[in-house]
Symmetry: C2
Subunit: 399 residues, 2 copies
């Protein structure tokens, strides 16, 4: 029997789905499981987008150009230019979800053995994309105590050596919800220019900034155009995760042309999604206002509810729809599994993502969990009750 | 400015699209261009499939499980079991087109530096997937004179060394249209068992077998279950290239579980396509009968028409919808470009794919082109007229 590849062995399993068998078992046993573990929003997709799907009028479901349809890229450029990105359609390459944009950028820009610095905790699947491209992620610890703000530039400098090729950020952040300030972005810019590094910017949660906080992209900064590659997706913006539609944006021609070769090898992104994505650009502002209001309420319920539980702490995230909370427990992996296997309150329990999966540093995040506030307010309150009761009963509690 | 990766430089550009700027120019100049260069069929997608898209009834366009929806995989298994594959849903992983199935299998099964033997000419994008996974393709020459039949096993044996990890085939073949016989498949099976190699089987054109020829998959052969990985796609079967829906099928549990980790990193395949793909399994047989009849007629028109042109030779392909033809010319790349740039007949011309892009051996296929018979009969006849005239006028002709 032929052997599997080393990369196949090294490839990390998704930490978010690690506990799925326990959740399945809990449901089979009749428990209601509140899914705070995964970023699948319950928010309806804009009707304008679903209508576009329902009204397709082609007879042949054909390939689109590898870089995406001209009309979708044109429309996307209007969206980005409203945000002040100053891009034209030729600087946008449509991808199979944001995931593929990241994979292609890693392959196009980074050599095997190259290093990429990412503040941790970070989106766990970056580990998978790095494995695919044989690049090494050097984590730099951000801490719950200061709300997961950008670590000091001095800390970055300590990690930078001849192998360092890029810095990757995600703002608003998954898993922490932290939103980088203009000052933090400027300091990253200076760092990337000083050391000639790529600045990869994962902007999946751009539309989710709370309390009037301003979103700042590296696309807003002058003089760093050749360094910046933005990863975007319709998944969260329009609650359209299943469309698998993202894009890669860069003003660096060489990166774009190289990325296009990878896109050509896989021929095309999904065409119906591109039709829908094009329609979605005309989603009325009222949709986003309503969604933002709803998420703000949920965030407040969750943050207040968490901090009201003895021994629990979390800061108030400025964006996205996640929060990382510190719990009075010995081991988040064990606790999250216990909540599914051994706990229920009125036949209900909560599934959370142990934060360990979002850290590279061994041992980091051992008493932290990530919670996604993607459920309605009533379910969130019930989930909080479950968590409070679970913590009170958990044999491994530390306070 | 940060440097591009070596892999980004090495990544081959798509040979099928290399001449696109010349075709665009020709169209701008008012010429009609018959596209025989690319496998985008003009055949209508089954209505049952498009109707499924038009009747989506979800409110939230959500992720599906990374391995595909349970109902689609279940339905797919009924399709494969009608073909005698003996698979269950758990042995099928849904992918973003056939392309992703190939990429994932390469990454999961092959180490950097490993070698994979592929009879050439072969589907040009295998070069891109190999580049992504850092594996080396060792081509083994099949020749136009014997219709691109499987090269002798002795020729394979000459290439096999400690680095050889897999053999990849595509039957019916893109670009040659050759359909491997039961005997050829049995000899490949024996070879893979003897040397403990994976047998990758690209079956994109399975439904297109002519003249009553039987399609044989390695899935039909006993005793090689652990070695076989099948790549499939709905692109050609249902003329649904833009759905970006494929799958990876294997009875090797380790390969499947490892592949799933790669699928988890990118979260999900497109959900609307899976709904449509599930509906498509119920496409009536009459659809395939009609399509097969049409392609048979087109093939006959093209093959007879080509062989009637002085100095042109092609064999009669047993499947797919491509033919590789030998032309009386100095250089296929130059000729194909000349046909777009410098030739027209009644303001019409033909775009073909130079076969050089489908060979790895330098110089091979220099006087061959690939033609896809994806146009209607009248257009095909006109394209043949153009080609005959073009060959008569081409300054680099050799007879």
């Amino acid at each position: 029997m032929p052997k599997i590849a080393k990369k196949g062995i090294d490839m990390p399993a998704s930490p978010i789905r690690k506990l799925t068998p326990y959740a399945d078992k809990a449901k089979k046993d009749g428990k209601t499981v509140f899914h705070l573990n995964i970023g699948q929003p319950d928010i309806p997709t804009p009707e304008i987008m679903l209508d576009a799907v329902k009204h397709i009028d082609f007879k042949v479901w054909a390939y689109t150009p590898s870089e995406g349809t001209a009309s979708y890229r044109e429309k996307l450029s209007t969206y980005y230019n409203k945000l002040g990105y100053g891009v034209d359609a030729s600087q946008i390459m449509v991808t199979n979800g944001g995931s593929e944009a990241i994979t292609i950028a890693f392959l196009a820009c980074l050599n095997p053995g190259d290093e990429i610095i990412i503040p941790e905790p970070f989106y766990a699947n970056y580990n998978g994309f790095a494995c695919m491209a044989d690049v090494t992620i050097r984590p730099i610890l951000s801490t719950i105590e200061n709300g997961f703000a950008l670590p000091s530039i001095a800390e970055f400098e300590k990690l930078i050596d001849s192998k360092t090729k890029a810095i990757a950020i995600c703002s608003p952040n998954n898993p922490t919800g932290y939103l980088y300030s203009k000052e933090e972005m400027e300091s990253l810019k200076a760092l990337c220019l000083k050391h000639d590094l790529y600045l990869f910017s994962d902007e999946a949660y751009r539309e989710f900034c709370y309390d009037g906080n301003e979103f700042v992209s590296p696309m807003h900064l002058d003089g760093i155009e050749e360094h910046v590659v933005v990863f975007d997706t319709v998944s969260k913006r329009y609650s359209a995760c299943g469309a698998r539609l993202g894009c890669l944006i860069t003003k660096n021609k060489e990166v774009l042309q190289t990325s296009l070769k990878f896109a050509q090898a896989r021929l095309s992104a999904p065409s119906v999604a591109q039709i829908a994505g094009e329609a979605a650009i005309d989603t009325p502002q009222s949709y986003f206002d309503t969604v933002l209001e709803e998420y703000t309420i949920r965030r407040n319920i969750l943050v207040e509810g968490l901090n009201a539980i003895p021994g629990v702490f979390c800061s108030t995230p400025g964006g996205a729809f996640y929060v990382v909370a510190k719990l009075p427990i010995d081991d988040a992996d064990r606790f999250c599994q216990w909540m599914l296997e051994s706990f229920s309150k009125d036949e209900k329990t909560v599934m959370m993502a142990p934060a360990t999966g979002f850290y590279s540093t061994p041992g980091a995040g051992k008493n932290e969990v990530r919670l996604a506030y993607v459920l309605n307010q009533e379910d969130l309150r019930q989930a909080l009750d479950c968590l409070a009761d679970g913590l009170a009963q958990y044999p491994g509690k530390t306070v």
